[in-house]
């Protein structure tokens, strides 16, 4: 039994169904994906292993051929703009997705593989038998199961009930708010300089969060844009700011305004993203139960990326593989299910989280969101300024701009920390 038809739950249920194992996937929304929001890019390689050439049939929006990282001051921006023709390598590309469509497709794949999917059913509680999880309670129904995979999202009430819950706190959770902005397909392709199936993924730092811990994003979908900000909850609380205020001013930024011009907002959404890295990882399994995806806080936040979809798919598959082993032994004890942790530690899931163990702490550095983006913009302004005065070298300009804002010593220390974590 799998709870939650997001990418983790669908990947788990699909893997089990493919192996001919009887599996029930339940979802509280009226249809799979109806409660789900993303602020990320789906990288192809993991899903491609599960469903080869998924991009041919899955409702992906656009293959990302352009990656932009921008640092914003109030009026300016400095960007790294990477363009590539990756049409020949669809398996390793990233894809923009809209979850209401994508998750629905994924759940249908589970059904095609022989799994049973029930939507509009909320798992309210666990059934316990001799100290082990033995199923779930959904409304008036009691559903017995040999094992439960909880993939019920960041607010995993089931994991809490099993004592496997992540201890979420304002300093290890980010809030994302997002707007879907409708634009004609041709306008998107011309404006973002992308091909008919290609797209852009843009990440922003600085003014988009008014200098507080977080960032902004802009993704191109087929006929819409996803524009959003992701901010640490603690930073919102301490600065008495609302995510939606940041979204509004981000949207009005001179650089961003031109990207979204003429578009019509059609949806407003929000979600939480675990961002504490390995440090917040909960116990992942107990007798008769495993936790996967966001419910287990399996999200990589490095500053360079906030990656969750891949981690969800990979952890769902690993949970299913552990269940397969348990099934062969007909032993769903904690000890057998510990194979799950072993599988995760052999995959990129735990290896990446280990490698970037220090990233969440590094990202606490407020200069990343304030001084540095400001500095990058003001320096660029000086570099490109011709005012009739004798020119300085770039180094002289940098030192001049840093004066009174940050010491060279502090800058070097931050650069060293960045080298280790990014």
């Amino acid at each position: 039994m799998v709870v939650g038809a997001g990418p983790a739950g669908c990947a788990a249920a699909y893997t089990l169904a493919k192996a001919g194992i009887e599996v029930l996937l339940i979802e509280r929304s009226k249809f799979a994906g109806g409660k789900n929001v993303t602020g990320g890019v789906l990288y192809g390689s993991v899903l491609n292993e599960l469903i080869p050439e998924f991009w041919k049939e899955a409702p992906v929006e656009r293959r990302v051929q352009r990656h932009v990282i921008s640092m914003l001051s109030e009026k300016s921006s400095v960007s790294i703009d990477f363009n590539t023709d990756n049409s020949g390598h669809p398996e390793s590309a990233g894809y923009t997705v809209l979850r209401a469509k994508f998750d629905r497709w994924f759940a249908r794949k589970v059904e095609e593989a022989g799994g049973m999917v029930i939507t509009g059913s909320r798992a309210d509680d666990l059934i316990w038998e001799d100290g082990r999880v033995a199923g779930i309670v959904a409304g008036d129904d009691k559903i017995a199961a040999k094992v439960v995979i909880a993939a019920d999202g960041v607010n995993s009430l089931l994991a809490d009930k099993a004592g496997l819950g992540v201890s979420l706190a304002p300093d290890n959770v980010n809030q994302g708010v997002k707007e879907i902005i409708k634009l004609p397909r041709e306008t998107i392709e011309q404006r973002f300089n992308v091909t008919a199936d290609g797209g852009a993924a843009m990440h922003f730092l600085g003014f988009c969060t008014r200098g507080i811990h977080g960032g902004g994003f802009l993704y191109t979908n087929q006929e819409s844009l996803s524009l959003g900000v992701v901010v640490q909850l603690k930073a919102l609380i301490e600065n008495k700011l609302k995510g939606v205020e940041l979204l509004e001013s981000f949207k009005e930024h001179p650089t961003v305004r031109e990207w979204v011009k003429g578009g019509t907002p059609v949806e407003y959404s929000a979600r939480l993203v675990p961002a504490g890295g390995l440090r917040m990882l909960p116990q992942l399994y107990t007798d008769g139960m495993l936790v996967a995806g966001d419910a287990a806080a399996l999200v990589l936040a490095t500053g360079r990326a906030l990656e969750g979809l891949n981690f969800a798919v990979a952890s769902g598959v690993a949970a299913a593989e552990a269940v397969k082993i348990a099934r062969e032994k007909d032993d769903f004890s904690q000890q057998t299910l510990s194979q799950y942790a072993k599988l995760l530690s052999e995959s990129f899931v735990l290896q990446d989280l280990m490698r970037f163990y220090g990233a969440p702490q590094f990202l606490e550095n407020s200069r990343l969101y304030g001084i540095y983006p400001e500095l990058a913009c003001s320096l660029a302004e000086k570099v490109f300024e011709v005012d009739g005065n004798p020119k300085m070298t770039a180094w002289q300009l940098s030192r001049e701009e840093m004066k009174g804002k940050i010491s060279l010593w502090q800058f070097v220390r931050d650069a060293m920390a960045a080298r280790k974590t990014l």
């Binding site: 929304s29 109806g34 209401a100 960041v154 607010n155 009430l157 979908n221 919102l236 609380i237 407003y268």
Partner: protein, 92 residues
Amino acid sequence: MSEMTMEQRLALNHYDVDTEAHIKVKPDVCQECDRQPCLYVCPAECFKFKEGKISFSHEGCLECGSCRISCPREAIEWSYPRAGFGISYEYG
């Protein structure tokens, strides 16, 4: 594009609103709270400070859990809406 009010934003979304609230707030506990982070963290502005009191309405809730994580006083009894109710994203 001019700024939208929260009502206009939420009106873009599709909801099946339940008659009963899925989140319960204890206003007398909130009364004692000097920080009231719920007023900032709720992306749908479901929490309002009216006539010296915190009031909560569940209709526009995006089911994100921000209030659940942020409340310093355990004044929020949080759960998901009943099956089939609440937000239903068309894009996501």
